[in-house]
Symmetry: C2
Subunit: 379 residues, 2 copies
């Protein structure tokens, strides 16, 4: 009998109580009861976003909300910076192209973080640039881009800063208002411990102004339509009722535990896992600003990262992630966010040790487990 | 204690077994197990669509899939017919405008069905028209448009026929291939007995050709991207895992019961409800081609339809729907599709009798119940 264990960077495990909250008979999506639910979900989102800005909810994957941050802010031909330091950075560039905008690509070697000075120089050289699109955490490389510093850069320009925090929000602190982030995108299936299906976008005052000038086509993802409805605790279209019920339960859970505790526990799991990586004599793929939400491990020479992933999946039903595109085969990635505890992390470490040993890496079996236990014991 | 009863035209009640199927621990969205799920869901969709065409699944409300049928088929400035005989017909026109296309609006009085001859004349007069957008069932008026006849009209022209069957598919037979429907849109939360969150689009050969010429911007709703992925039983973006698990269970349930049985039972509930309406001395709002999926009732003079809806909701926690826009206050609507049986319909009839009596309509209490029972007894 194989117990499935999800330790990939999304979807993460959903708490059983939340699954049962979603299994209750449906209520009607146009009712006072459901308006109350939307209102509470909106309040929960503002809390986790640490913002007074409006946070819109869409029924889509995170990509849908990313698209909304292009189609609602820009007009045909507009220039915008896309920070390309991984697969999701590339998505910004593809989205801009799909909408007939001009991406100004900042290519960052995978595993590294963008240099805010480079973005500053670009914006100074070309004041017609309307926006800067970046990831908080580039999930494909495990790198956190310096979004606070980027916000300092965009603050004094005409450009808005749009942050994809799909895999970051809820894993570590992203103080939207304190850092002055104009737009922050997120999704339900990562640190928010929900099934995939909901995506979010916070919209600050500078972005609201840009939105008014945007002429790109939009309908389902129209911010104007959803602002009009969601500020009255309604959905412009039929709301995904069960997913809202689940998210409401998640916010209750987060309130019970406390955001700071969640951030701290995630960081300890990350620290413990990274200690195990060092004990195996391996290096992080993330050469700069490695995230606490997940760890990307550089495979030793001669070991295919995809084989590590496959080993865990086929022998133990443990799901971690491999590398994507140019990192494929070179790395494996393990998440530390969401509804997991130290023993889930130890399980992953233990399973990876057995895989690495089986695939021929020379190291002391149990060394990663011991290094991680030491961190957990001291935490 | 109020038992909630959903008898509005969506979301409809979800079978408890399906709710529990969605409450199982998540499996990974990029796994062989989940590919198997996508494959079975795709097969189930083709069966209910009665088609060999590809049927794509999107995580969105039905409107998202409607939008995809504009953005993937047309180019800026293209002309397309929008049949406006209700709120959802108007949505086609709004979508076309949002994308910078030219809607050729065919305005049909609410409660009536479009005349295919009128569409034929338009297409003959202007061969540059690229598409005809229509509802199978215009949910706001309870009218079924004659989509088989419309397909006969478009067949010999360059225009594709795009049918919004969000509230029709699964309630009565829509033989996509036999009728030659180029694109059929649907959603999860009506006759398919699922929570809202999934939308579908079938794409026939003529639509595939038009798609290749389309230059409107699209990304999340890109048919090309999803065709590439879904034909390999993958999702282009993160699939809403729990909703797929639910839909898989629904297709098992439909297989157990049989599509023909579901259509027949829905039709009997419709017939019984319409007999009750006649017994009350009331008329249908749908003057032509009243649907079997739902009934729209014209309120008697002096009785506000919104008050009937409110009465049922507040006194009995029964959700039916009122009128929208120009029909607001004039009608109420009751669904016959989905996971309901004859006693749910009798409950609605009984509750409406009590509301009508309370609001001052003169009729014999129980006459609607008796008329409906007669139909059910004979079925």
């Amino acid at each position: 009998m194989k117990k499935v264990s999800l330790l990939a960077p999304g979807p993460t495990p959903v708490p059983p109580r939340t699954l049962l909250a979603m299994a209750q008979p449906l209520i009607h999506h146009r009712s006072a009861d459901f308006q109350e639910v939307i209102g509470q979900v909106r309040a929960g989102l503002k809390k986790i976003y640490q913002t007074a800005n409006e946070v819109l909810v869409f029924c889509s994957s995170g990509t849908g909300a990313m698209e909304s941050a292009v189609s609602n802010l820009l007009s045909p031909g507009d220039k915008a910076v896309a920070i390309r330091g991984g697969k999701f950075g590339e998505r910004w560039s593809l989205l801009l192209e799909a909408y007939g905008c001009q991406p100004v690509n900042v290519d960052v070697p995978w595993g590294q973080a963008v240099d805010p000075g480079q973005v500053e120089a670009l914006l100074k050289a070309d004041p017609t640039i309307k926006a800067v699109y970046v990831q908080a955490l580039e999930t494909s490389t495990g790198v956190d881009h310096p979004i606070q510093a980027l916000a300092q850069v965009t603050k004094n320009t005409g450009a808005v800063l749009v942050v994809d925090a799909v895999s970051a929000l809820g894993a570590y602190s992203i103080p939207t208002d304190q850092w002055g982030l104009d737009v922050v995108i997120s999704g339900s299936q990562k640190a928010l411990m929900m099934p995939p299906g909901l995506a979010f976008a916070s919209i600050g005052p500078k972005a609201m102004e840009l939105m008014k000038k945007s002429t790109l086509p939009k309908f389902y993802f129209s911010w104007a339509k959803e602002l009009k409805n969601q500020t009255e605790n309604k959905g412009a279209f039929t709301s995904p009722v069960t997913l809202f019920m689940g998210l409401l339960d998640i916010f209750k859970l987060i309130d019970e535990v406390g955001l700071e505790t969640i951030f701290a526990e995630t960081a300890v799991r990350s620290q413990a896992f990274k200690a195990a990586v060092a004990a195996w004599g391996l290096e992080l793929y993330s050469k700069q600003r490695p995230s606490t939400a997940l760890t990307a491990v550089q495979c030793p020479a001669g070991i295919d990262g995809q084989k590590v992933v496959k080993w865990l999946k086929e022998k133990y039903a443990i799901y971690i992630a491999g590398g994507q595109d140019q990192a494929k085969g070179k790395i494996f990635r393990v998440a530390h966010m969401g509804y997991i505890n130290e023993f889930d992390t130890l399980q992953a470490i233990s399973a990876i040790e057995m895989a690495l040993k089986g695939l021929g890496h020379a190291f002391e079996m149990g060394s990663g487990v011991a290094a991680a236990q030491k961190i957990f014991g001291e935490a």
